[in-house]
């Protein structure tokens, strides 16, 4: 649907924009900055601050005939109104003449700024926003210079109001633009902020417990046009002009949000460059100008005191620090020794924390040594997302009326908040969601198509959808109810359709069957190979998709099976022992173990050789996001201690083992990837660095229009397309789900929470108040059968381990199920049946 175009003149420049465009946006498009405070291109306009005043002239028309009135020269007569009008609330009109920089408009804006400053404390020297403050910048540009009001009569308000643990409010500085309030309501639908009182006493309050309870709260500090909202993490940390900026990619989830790391040399860190704050970098196809609070605040792990800084080798059953040469020699000798032994071979385990370059070389080295690589992940289907993945040019921000998204077996709000946000926004543009899960999730609030299934029957649901659209007789046993049929019809008729699948409540085989069913569903309905159509896996790590693409595959029967056969193991950025303590027994025997890690993990503690690797802030590389967008991250700080990038360690080890491998840089490895990996053809660091103009413009001189999210000058990344073509005939494949026998007791299901107690989150002290404690979530009915009250201590055994933890009764938990959040202190890898006992 294309809107008709409207032509108008702004300060003498001819502009043609779609109907309905606001004057302020139209002016921005031709490079005229109208000052704004309350207006933000991502929010509805309210016209509260009045600083965007302009003179608007409309073509005069004869009232009776509607004919244009012409002057004696035959020119259209333009009528200017007596008053200035707000350009942020007025859509353009045909033939209008806008005067932005006329004497009257300039004087009007001058007075508005003078008025806004009457209650502003002007404490710019100690304000965190000072230096990147729209109010400061626009006062310099459009303000009067002096004030007719008395400084001593300024109203004095609270300057230190915590709106929760993460965001602080300074009531004096607030100019009451309501950007934060509207952002929370309109954009992220966490309406936890509001105004109270009127006039000068008007102030921002939070209505939630804990205060400002939202996963997106940090973004309000970016769009706040003054220093009223500041983050607890950066508060008084540095002045903006002192910060060095480097582009990066968020390492926490598969969305791949673009970041800018702000760094500075610190005396407190003995002169080292440290990360002062993490800011969003604009990429309208990925994260727009937002990031979640985990991405913003959980960066401290990279500069943690606990980081490994030196290679270590095992001497007399203890790990001692040595130099690189010695460690590499020990590793090579140990590997050669172990491989000479008759039993088994080499097993290499790596995961989605490593970059594409690391994984590609890792895969090559292990293959050269006749070993076997194992991808550490419990979610299957990375091969299917490569085959049936979303087409090149996919943009969740384009989904609208007629498009359908199926989200199955995952909780996007907890697992990938920005995807949640983008899908929620898609529904506002008319897209339909089908949300299938065993328990209610937040995304369900935005759709009528909710498919609820019992855990263990996720695959049945997907096959039910497939049955409804394919009419394959073999699928008849999976025929679903009316709701499911309706959802299937909706999916079939969709113009564009995307499926997000996760692994909640599923073991590896289950997720394999689910991914297969979802891929077939897309294929049967013709939703493959095109932009905005395809399959997306909700991985738990940033680069799991990249690991699949580089050729790594999980072992269907678990790492244990693979390691049992091995005489040597090489682990890169993974910690399987933490997830599965039984591996300790397997590894403790005479397996020669090399671990490449950031931290002294339980796996690293058992290693014969430990290589310290660099975190994402100290090195360069690429991640492939869930949407298969390959994006580059850059080094922001100097490397810690004697650490090396993972890919360099792999090369060093390869050379020590006599395997030829020689790449001078990560960029050279990427060229090799481009030659060898299907779909990655033509990629290089230069291509990944390309940018194009994006709307809305952020950055710029005043920072008022978009906020402090940074402009993307370092690369938008390149999306790797699926291998299946749109019109290719596809054989519908599906795997029947494994029918598991009903077992006694409750089904224990691990679920993902955004903030867990893993080291990458735990290292950020600022998030500590938001970290949950280990607990078990039970349905009140089950609890009453067991005689368990809310908060009571319960005990259960799983895989031979026993744990005591408090129970929480929640109606959202399905009956017969106990939910345990992952990484809070007790790891449960796959759903299992448990017997719960009340602890007296």
């Amino acid at each position: 649907m294309t809107k008709s175009l409207v032509a108008l003149t702004i300060d003498g420049l001819e502009v043609t924009v779609p109907e309905g465009t606001l004057i302020v946006d139209a002016a921005k498009k031709v490079g005229i900055d109208i000052p704004v405070f309350c207006y933000h291109p991502k929010l509805h306009s309210v016209g509260m601050c009045r600083v965007c005043l302009v003179e608007i002239g409309r073509p005069a028309r004869d009232r009776s005939t509607g004919e244009p009135i012409l002057d004696e020269n035959g020119q259209q007569v333009i009528n200017f109104g007596p008053n200035l009008e707000t350009s942020c609330t007025t859509p353009v009109g045909e033939g209008w003449v806008i005067r932005v920089n006329s004497e009257k408009a300039i004087e009007g804006r001058k007075q508005i700024i003078e008025y806004l400053l009457t209650s502003h404390p002007l404490d710019c020297p100690i304000c965190d926003k000072g230096g990147e403050c729209p109010l400061q910048n626009q006062t310099m540009e459009h303000g009067p210079g002096t004030s007719r009001y008395l400084f001593d009569e300024k109203i004095q308000l609270e300057k230190h109001v915590p709106l929760g643990e993460l965001i602080y409010l300074d009531r004096e500085r607030c100019i009451q633009c309501s950007r934060c309030v509207r952002y929370q309501e309109e954009v992220v639908d966490d309406p936890v902020l509001g105004f109270t009182n009127r006039g000068r006493r008007l102030e921002i309050i939070t209505s939630s417990v804990p205060g400002f309870n939202s996963y997106f709260s940090g973004n309000t500090t970016d769009i706040c046009p003054v220093g009223a909202l500041t983050t607890a993490d950066f508060r008084f940390g540095a002045r903006p002009w002192e910060l060095n900026k480097s582009a990066s990619i968020c390492p926490h989830c598969p969305v791949g949000c673009n970041l800018t790391l702000n760094t500075r040399r610190e005396a407190q860190a003995e002169g080292r460059e440290v990360i002062k704050r993490v800011m969003p970098r604009q990429n309208e196809r990925v994260n727009e100008i937002w990031i979640c609070d985990k991405g913003r605040f959980a960066h401290h792990f990279a500069s943690s005191e606990e980081r490994l800084t030196k290679p270590m080798v095992r001497v007399n059953n203890e790990l001692v620090e040595v130099g690189w040469d010695e460690a590499l020699e020990r590793a090579a000798d140990g590997l050669k020794d172990a491989l000479k032994r008759s039993r088994g071979g080499l097993v290499g385990i790596a995961g989605g924390r490593a970059s594409n370059e690391d994984l590609f070389l890792f895969q090559r080295l292990i293959t050269e040594l006749d070993g076997q690589t194992v991808l550490e992940d419990d979610l299957a289907g990375g091969d299917l997302t490569a085959e049936f993945g979303v087409g090149r040019g996919t943009d969740l921000g384009e989904l609208g009326s007629g498009d359908v998204v199926l989200v199955i077996a995952c909780d996007l709000h907890e697992e990938a908040p920005i995807w949640w946000l983008r899908l929620k926004q898609a529904t506002e543009r008319g897209a339909q969601l089908i949300v299938a899960n065993a328990r209610p999730t937040r995304l369900e609030g935005y759709t009528d198509h909710i498919l609820r299934y019992p855990y263990k029957r996720a695959v049945h649901t997907a096959l039910g959808l497939l049955q409804a659209v394919s009419k394959n007789d073999d699928l008849t046993p999976f025929k679903g109810d009316k709701d499911l049929q309706k959802a299937a019809r909706l999916f079939k008729q969709a113009e564009n359709a995307i499926i997000f699948y996760g692994g909640e409540g599923l073991a590896y085989e289950g997720s394999q069957a689910l991914a297969q069913a979802c891929a077939s569903l897309l294929a049967v309905t013709g939703h493959v190979g095109r932009p905005n159509n395809g399959l997306i896996a909700v991985w738990t790590k940033a680069n799991t998709q990249g690991a699949w693409d580089m050729g790594l595959r999980p072992n269907p029967s678990g790492h244990g099976k693979a390691l049992e056969q091995a005489s040597a193991a090489y682990m890169m950025g993974v910690d399987p022992v933490a997830d599965d303590e039984s591996l300790e027994g397997i590894l403790r025997e005479d397996t020669f173990l090399i671990v490449q890690e950031l931290f002294m993990t339980p796996t690293a503690k058992m290693a014969d050789v430990v290589f310290p690797s660099r975190s994402f802030i100290e090195r360069e590389g690429t991640f492939t996001s869930g949407e298969r967008r390959v994006q580059r991250f850059y080094p922001a700080v100097l490397p810690l201690g004697d650490t090396k990038s993972d890919w360099r360690i792999v090369i060093s080890l390869a050379n020590a083992m006599g395997v030829e491998m020689d790449y001078p840089s990560a960029a050279a490895v990427m060229l090799e990837i481009a030659e060898n990996i299907p779909g990655y053809e033509g990629l290089s660091y230069q291509v990944l660095t390309e940018v194009e103009p994006q709307w809305p413009h952020v950055g710029g001189r005043s920072l008022a229009f978009g906020g402090t999210a940074s402009e993307n000058t370092q690369g938008l990344g390149v999306q790797v397309g699926p291998t299946v073509m749109p019109d290719e005939p596809i054989e519908v494949v599906w795997t029947a789900p494994i029918e598991e026998p009903e077992e006694e007791g409750l089904l224990l299901v691990p679920i993902n929470r955004l903030y867990d107690r893993g080291i990458s989150v735990r290292s950020s002290k600022v998030l500590h108040p938001r970290l949950d404690v280990l607990h078990l979530e039970l349905n009140p009915k089950d609890a009453s059968h067991l005689g368990v009250g809310d908060g009571a201590q319960v005990e259960f055994r799983v895989d031979g381990r026993s744990v005591q933890l408090p129970a929480r009764l929640m109606d959202s938990v399905p009956e017969g199920v106990a939910l345990i959040p992952r990484s809070l202190g007790f790891q449960v890898v796959r759903p299992t049946s448990i017997q719960i006992k009340l602890v007296e």
Binding site: D123, P125, I126, A238, E242
Partner: protein
């Protein structure tokens, strides 16, 4: 070229005469010549009469410094541990006097008149590290009747960064 020998004697007479004049040299370091009022010597960080530091850690001096000689890290005050009025104080304040060109722009930039180029010109070092003057060196002693920072104060008594307080006389 021949010269009049009497001119040589005339010159020597000047030398002889000056032997009876008062010397202009000072016996430094025993005797120090007082500097002019607007002399720009080594920096000092001033305090208010009650002992609170004037510096609020805004780092505008560092921004104004043409030689990049000043480095500031700031932190947040609490009423339990208060260093300066308002919310912000300098937790690290360093001036590299090897870099400093004594231009006085830091004084001009300071919103609280905390940094002043005083009269001390005796800055010499034998190692580079010694040239970095830390906050402990730069900060003036606590005035009489004042308290050492950090001090515990009554809540809300000093919550303005630019307060109405008496300067040390």
């Amino acid at each position: 070229m021949r010269k009049n020998p009497l001119q040589l004697l005339w010159g020597l007479w000047t030398t002889f005469r000056s032997m009876f004049e008062r010397p202009v040299t000072y016996q430094y370091p025993e005797i120090k010549r007082p500097v002019r009022e607007r002399f720009r010597g080594r920096h000092e960080l001033k305090r208010y009469e009650n002992g609170l530091e004037k510096c609020i850690g805004c780092a505008l001096c560092a921004a104004a410094c043409p030689a990049d000689a000043i480095f500031v890290e700031s932190s947040e005050n609490t009423d339990e541990e208060r260093y300066s009025p308002g919310e912000r104080y300098a937790s690290t304040y360093e001036i590299n006097l090897l870099r400093c060109i004594f231009c006085g722009y830091c004084e001009d930039a300071c919103p609280t008149e905390a940094i002043v180029l005083e009269q001390n010109y005796e800055v010499s070092f034998t190692a580079r590290r010694q040239a970095i003057y830390t906050k402990e060196i730069l900060l003036v002693p606590v005035p009489e009747n004042g308290k050492q920072t950090p001090m515990k104060v009554l809540p809300k008594s000093f919550d303005r960064a630019i307060p109405e307080m008496e300067d040390v006389k």
